[in-house]
Symmetry: C3
Subunit: 207 residues, 3 copies
C-alpha cells in the first residue's frame, strides 16, 4: 500500500517537473502533457525495456499515466504556485527519486537480474525520466552538470537496497534504501554538496 | 494489399521529411540516408521494442528500410521540387500518420496488449519517427510546440480504432481510424487549429 | 581471448571519447563517468534491446562497465595527454569500431536474426554509443555531419562479415570485417575522405 503511494507520488513529482519545464518552454497543452508523462513514467519504461517486460507496465496498465496526466494538469493550473512552493516540490521529488531507485532495483532482482544489474536498473529508473525530459527540451541533462547531487544519492540508495536484500528481508532494503537516498539528496541540496569537474582549463564555452 | 501500400507510403513520407531536414542541416549523404531511415521506420522500431518483437520488423526484414532509402534518394535528388510541392507532401504525410496510428494500435492489440496500451503504442508508432528526427538534429520536437495539430489526430485515430475493434471487425476500425486521423490532421492544417499553451508570462526565451 | 581484448579495447576507447567530451563541457565527475559509460557500452545495450537480450549484457555482467569506468578515470586524470596523443586515440578507436561492427553482426546472426538485420545491428553497435554521447551533450551527431567517414566503414565491415559468414567460417568473417572497417576508417582519416552533402544552397545556417 505504502509502495503504491510512493510510486504514484514519484510519478506525480516527476510529471510535474516535466510539465513545469514544458510550460516555461512555451509548449502547447499536448506538449505539456507529453513531457509530463514521459518524465513521470520514462524511467520505468526504460527499466521495463531492459528487463524484457512487454509492454512496459506504464503502457500496459492505465494508473501510472493517469497519475502523470492528473499531476500535469494540476501543475499547469497551479503553475505560479508550484514555482513558489519549490522547496516542497524538491522534497517530494527527492522522496520519489529515492523510492524509484530502490523499487527499480527490487523489480530487477525479482526478475532474476544480477545484483550489479539491479543497482544499475534502479539508478536508471530514478534518473531516466529526467534525462528524457532534458534531451527533449534540448538541454544538457541536469544530472551531468555540476549543479547538485541527484544521481549519486540514487546510486547509493539502489546499492544499499541490493546489499540489504542479499542478507535480509526485502522490505528492510526498500525502506532503508529509499530513506537513505532521499536524505542524501535533501542534505546535498541544503549543504550545497557538489562533485568536482575535470580540469577547469579544458572546459570549452559555457556548459 | 492496401495496408502494405499505406505502410510503404507512410514510411516514404516520413523518410522524405527526415531527408529534407538533413539536407537543410548540411548533413552528408550518409547522414541524410540515416536520418531518413530513422524518421521513416523509427516509430515502428520503438513500437516493436515495446511489444517485444525481436529484432524489430524493420530491422529483421528488408522492405521497410529499402523503401525509406529509395524515398530518401528521391527526396535528395528532387529536393527543390519537394519544397515546392509542400502541400502534396503534407497531405501524403497525413495519410501515413493516420495509417501508422491505427495499424500500430492493431499490431499491439494482436499481440495481446491492453486497449490502453494499443492506443499508446499506435500514437508512438505515428509520432516516434518525427521525435527521433528532431532530437537528432537538436531541435525541440515539432510535436510539442504550438505549431499545428499532429499528435492529437494520431491519438484520436488510434482511440477510434480501439473502440471499433472492441465492438466490431478489425478492418472497419483500421479504415475509420486512418481516415479520421488523416482528415483531422488536414483540417487542422487548413483551419490553423492550435492548442493553447500554459500561462504566457511563464514562458522563458523563445520556444 | 583476442575477442575479449578487442571488446574491452573498443569500450575503453569509446568511453574515453565520452569522458573527454564531458570534461570539455564542464560536467562533474558523475557526469563524466556517466557519459563515458553510456558512450562505451551504449551501442551494445541498444544491440541487446533489439535482439531481446534481457537485461543487456553490459548491465547484467560487471566487466564491460568496469572497463568503461576505469577508462573514464584514466582519461580524466590524463586529459591533457589524451588530447596530445589524439592520433593514437583515433587509431585505437578505429580498431574498436571495426570490432564492434563485426562482433555486433555476429551476435545478431548467432541469435537467429536475418543477414539484413545482422548488418544493421552491427552498424548500430559500432555507432550507437557515439550517437548517444552527442545527443546527450546537445550536439548534432558527428556521424551525420560531413566531417569524416565513420559509419560507412562500420557498415562495410558488418556487411563483409555477413557475406563471409554465409559462405565460410565465422572467425574469418570477424577478422576480415574488423580489419577492413579499421583500415577504411584510418584511410579515410589520412586521406580526408568525405561524402558529399545535398544541394549547398538549401543548407540553412551552420550545421
Amino acid at each position: 500500500m505504502l509502495q503504491l503511494v510512493l510510486n504514484y507520488l514519484g510519478i506525480a513529482m516527476f510529471a510535474s517537473s516535466g510539465a513545469m519545464v514544458a510550460i516555461r518552454k512555451g509548449f502547447d497543452l499536448f506538449g505539456i502533457a507529453a513531457l509530463g508523462i514521459l518524465t513521470g513514467v520514462g524511467g520505468g519504461v526504460v527499466r521495463d525495456v531492459f528487463l524484457g517486460i512487454h509492454p512496459p507496465t506504464s503502457i500496459q496498465h492505465w494508473p501510472n499515466i493517469t497519475v502523470a496526466v492528473v499531476a500535469t494538469a494540476v501543475a499547469t493550473l497551479a503553475a505560479r504556485h508550484v514555482i513558489r512552493f519549490n522547496r516542497i516540490v524538491l522534497t517530494l521529488d527527492a522522496v520519489g527519486m529515492g523510492f524509484f531507485a530502490t523499487s527499480g532495483a527490487a523489480i530487477a532482482a525479482d526478475r532474476g537480474a544480477s545484483w550489479f544489474a539491479a543497482v544499475l536498473v534502479g539508478l536508471t529508473t530514478a534518473i531516466g525520466g529526467g534525462i528524457i525530459r532534458d534531451v527533449l527540451v534540448r538541454e544538457i541533462p541536469l544530472l551531468m552538470r555540476p549543479d547538485d547531487l541527484y544521481a549519486v544519492p540514487a546510486l547509493i540508495g539502489a546499492t544499499t537496497y541490493a546489499v540489504i536484500d542479499y542478507f535480509g528481508p526485502q522490505w528492510v532494503g526498500l525502506t532503508v534504501g529509499t530513506v537513505l537516498a532521499t536524505v542524501l539528496r535533501l542534505a546535498g541540496l541544503v549543504f550545497g554538496w557538489r562533485l568536482p569537474t575535470g580540469p577547469q582549463d579544458l572546459i570549452v564555452g559555457d556548459p
